[in-house]
Symmetry: C3
Subunit: 487 residues, 3 copies
């Protein structure tokens, strides 16, 4: 047993049979969710029939159109698509890991959003009188936001972990997220509509830290599968485009009704547009014949949306948004060209999807952009009521100045990064134990480990059928001993 453990710990042999561990984790955690929901989760006053009718009476509301459902649902739909199709298909780019990319994303998001409803519910929607968490569509959106942090982390680990490990990453990721979100949004009273800090910076550094702890010295043995093929790159563009198109909804989903949502959409739309142009430019410049690299087009074109997360609801001005996207497209693409290989070589951080360049750094930049824009806010631009409304300068925070707000925004960015790094390191060590069914260094990026994969070739082309026939006719008895390598 000691020998087996030692053998596993040093990567000589890995048992990837998850026939007990994966179902156990799924069943036990799902039953736990049911019990916890039974104890804590109830419909809020906009989704409970009795309470909504009472609410309309007491607030003299005549039309159902005032139900928050109609303000938030269109945005919710888009966020949901980003979580499941956007992230899911973006991670199908590997030639032989598409099932795991989209499939495990599906699994951990489905679990994570339930756990997030609880975690975030305890922090934000818990009624101290009844001890219940009351949920509505805004909780669903926030749960999707919360789980995004763990999906971002998956991007760094893609191909190198088992689904059981991913469930652990998500369990802790959601928990850490709920805590840091509470600290940043409630205690520090930051604004972060699109989560540059609480989602992207946190999720990015969380994934990088885990990956650093789980560094695989012989990962090069799986090199042949660590890349794309023609059609897997096209599949990944489905993910890219749905993320890109719906990012305005993402950044406006929980913004203030009215002008807030409207402005967040415009700002995000513009930042994303300019980051496409600069990502294409740098990608072309970085190849000797100017040829574009699909990895850049799939990822760096999204950097503007990440960086605009915090400032989307501020009066950053349309050209301000273009500038943010312009810069982040450049920085992100440079990251893919230079920084990711550098991090792998000198810092031992293996980052499969390059989340450092799309989430970690642009998220951090987005947090600082938000800090600057907040500090520069003025009554002339926002109006007195507008300033109060945008930064929620109410209650305990009524006397806060915009400079102070800017300072807190910067602090919030640092909190998010810290939670990511420290939390990720801890989770990484938990995942180092040889009990999770993760693959050996020479068996990464391969769906065969966790999936029943259908026959390898799309069809056996007739010419190959014929070739097979010819070869079998010519072969000697002695050839029959050649063991055909099973892929």
């Amino acid at each position: 047993c000691m020998g087996w453990c030692a053998g596993n710990f040093f990567g000589r042999q890995k048992n990837t049979n998850i026939r007990v561990s994966l179902p156990a984790v799924c069943f036990v955690w799902q039953i736990a969710m049911i019990i916890l929901f039974g104890v804590f989760i109830r419909y809020n006053e906009e989704s409970d029939v009795r309470k909504w009718i009472e609410f309309k009476h007491s607030h003299n509301i005549t039309s159902d159109i005032e139900n928050d459902f109609y303000f938030r649902y269109p945005s919710f739909q888009d966020v949901h698509v980003m979580i499941f199709v956007g992230f899911g298909f973006l991670m199908t780019f590997l030639k032989r890991y598409s099932f795991s990319g989209v499939g495990f994303n599906f699994l951990i998001a489905a679990f994570g959003l339930q756990w997030a409803l609880l975690m975030q519910g305890w922090f934000h929607s818990l009624d101290p009188n009844t001890g219940k968490i009351y949920i509505g569509v805004e909780n669903l959106i926030n749960a999707d936001f919360c789980v995004a942090g763990s999906l971002i982390a998956y991007g760094a680990l893609l191909g190198k972990v088992s689904p059981v490990q991913l469930m652990v990453v998500t369990l802790f990721g959601v928990t850490l997220f709920a805590v840091e979100e509470y600290i940043i949004l409630d205690l520090l009273h930051c604004r972060d509509a699109g989560g540059s800090m609480v989602i992207h910076a946190f999720g990015g550094y969380y994934g990088l830290a885990i990956s650093w702890v789980l560094y695989r010295p012989n990962l090069h043995q799986s090199k042949r599968l660590n890349g794309s093929v023609y059609h897997s790159d096209v599949f990944a563009m489905i993910g890219t485009l749905f993320l890109w198109m719906f990012w305005p909804s993402f950044n406006s989903a929980i913004t203030a009704h009215g002008d807030g949502q409207h402005r967040a959409v415009i700002n995000t739309y513009l930042a994303l547009a300019s980051s496409v142009l600069t990502a294409v430019a740098i990608s072309s410049m970085s190849q000797k014949r100017g040829k574009l690299d699909m990895v850049h087009i799939q990822n760096a074109t999204l950097a503007g949306g990440v960086a605009m997360g915090t400032a989307a609801e501020f009066m950053i001005t349309p050209y301000g948004s273009l500038i943010v996207g312009f810069c982040c497209g450049i920085i992100s693409t440079f990251g893919y060209v230079f920084v990711t290989p550098f991090l792998e070589k000198y810092f031992k951080i293996q980052d499969t999807c390059g989340i450092h360049n799309l989430h970690a750094v642009p998220g951090m930049l987005g947090g600082f952009v938000g800090a600057i824009v907040a500090a520069a806010a003025s009554v002339e631009v926002y109006g007195r009521e507008g300033l109060i409304e945008t930064f929620a300068f109410e209650g305990d925070f009524a006397t806060r100045s915009v400079l102070t707000q800017g300072g807190y925004q910067a602090a919030g960015t640092c909190v998010a990064i810290t939670f990511g790094l420290v939390g990720g390191a801890l989770v990484g060590f938990i995942l180092k134990f040889p009990i999770w069914g993760d693959p050996a260094d020479d068996n990464c990026y391969d769906d065969e480990v966790y999936w029943e994969v259908p026959e390898d070739e799309e069809t056996i082309p007739p010419v190959l059928e014929y070739n097979n026939h010819m070869i079998h006719k010519h072969q000697d008895i002695s050839e029959s001993n050649f063991s055909v390598e099973q892929s």
Copy 2:
């Protein structure tokens, strides 16, 4: 002629040339639609400019936001995506039948929704005074719902029928649907917002009954094409994910404004989340090394949405929704592992997509869950007004008790199943005539029958080019007589 008919009837030869029958059906039925629309279909008062202006005046409505368009259109968009992309791409999983899967789904849905507008219009939107059917966006949503029943049936028949047969399946499927929907929703006064009974149970058993009548004893001759390849499985995940993500919209699309739609979204979202975890768990347990099967991930993860169709708008509580999804994920996956092969072997039901496990059984369960939840409804939970509103205890049904309602809900489930089985058997016999251009038993699951399919291989890889060259150099004159099998 008799011999030819006999030969066809016993499957010895099949004429799959549809150059006359398919265009004839399309042209004649489309012209019929135009004529019937000309006689019957008009814009309703929310889409007719003159009537809407009058309506606003007479109801003292100042804002256009009260137009039902704004309440229903976001849901409509999502339902529409489920019908065309969700079902369409879910049926691209076969290695050589993707064109027919997505293409015939497209065709029969485009026809079916026109016929549904008429059929459902006669039942629900016909003004006895004018004799016209007045339509708005809610009719479009209901038409999409109606056609879903026939698309579900296609799932059982996928690969084994001609497009002309599918048009017939749809013609009758829509007609049967409109009748059973009227019986269940209007006469029995059941509630079935997401159609567990009227769509899924009906559609599932309809397809199974047709497939049973059209049983093919030598279908094993097409075995090599009855399966997926790597990338067709990834295409199918597009379908799965769009169905999964938009199911909350599906189940809330025609629910009562306000809290009803809001709650249906929450309930469906949760049921779907838990069915993912249990589907993954059972899939892993059912393989000796714990490997997941894409068929389960593509289909059984959706079972929660099907089963939540009836109860979505009820106060089933969030943990109640999780329990429904938990159970249905298990039942559905077991169905794929054990029941579908069993049904094929002992009941002669060949079910290509396993609709038994995703629609028929979960739909039936959803109907019974709805019956139980309805019977358990109380004034404490719903409020007096809420109870009346949720179950429409008005007019002729004002004195109905919740227990009675529960009984009718259960009866409604049985009506839906009966319509499916009896209707399907009848349609099956109509389709047995050898006039529809269906393929022979050894020619199923093959796009070549009805489509001009491009060259088989994606590219001829250079190594294969070289191989071809080498083999041709070495081959004997005698080899040239080998007839290369055309795929």
Copy 3:
């Protein structure tokens, strides 16, 4: 230099190294956008926090739901998906040009919508007092519409141009669009909600004219790559379906609130449904065994949506919409079968995607249908207020009769076509200069020219591995001189 230019001009040698030109264009134009946005673009009163609060006060608006965001955003989302996923994936059908199809569509749309916000802003949203352009979500929708014209043109040029040329096509395309849109919608006071004239007829003839000027006499040398493979056809269906499903949103996106948007959705939905049936019918009839052609299903099924662009908001009646779709499905498919080859052979117009049949002709027909329906409008059908509202018979146009309106609608169609043809010819000549990095005639339809393309084969199947082994064992020293063709 002269010799080099002459050599290039006559196509003997082409330098496709865009390492300087593409980044230069992207950087310079993006910086220009930033400067122009800084000078001109501001948030409008619905997206500016200070102004929205003032607006609510001054108009006694109590609820944020009145913000135009809630009226327009759902439609905007769908239009955005059509532009990036719809057009983008529709152009992935070529076997080796999917990266360029979806990738260059992405690039030029991201640039084009910024330039469109300026161009259209100068025409429509410029405040003469302040000299600023005030933008909101309706401007974003109009920018997406504007860019669609250039994306349509790309369809004719797909495979034959460099990305730098496409940027030029877009720069001029957006400019021309803004001018013709102003002439047609403002000066002629036409109605064209879904852009049959201003988007489709213009964009179609623009692309055809450019293609005619850039005619390549030896394009047949790239014939082997000018076609699809099995899975690229399935990818293209993603584009087709998203275009088809969201076209109702496209045609209703900028229609009058309330009944206008509602009716436009119904009319478009119906026209699209009937064009599917007739496209399938003609496709089947045009092949001797009735087999369908994916090109028809991918494109001609959309013709109903194009043709309904102008008349969608009119009271064309539901059966009127079915008739429009019925006819356009036939015309469009005939176009693909007969007209496109004819145009290539006799008119020297090489039209890769057949935009003539989907956009140019159906757009023109849609314009004329709109003219007829407008001329036939009456007070009985529309109501007095409705007539004024639908055709905006206000201000300078208050005394216009419907017959005059119809005449202007027909004139508008001619203006759109003229702008397309003349503008396209001019742009074509600009693009003929050998400075844009376009490929040689034997190097078209190939992603390798502008992209780093991953390894050609999806995987090397085991049987091929074995074959390789066998062949290498048998080969003679003399074979080693055979130069393997690099694809």
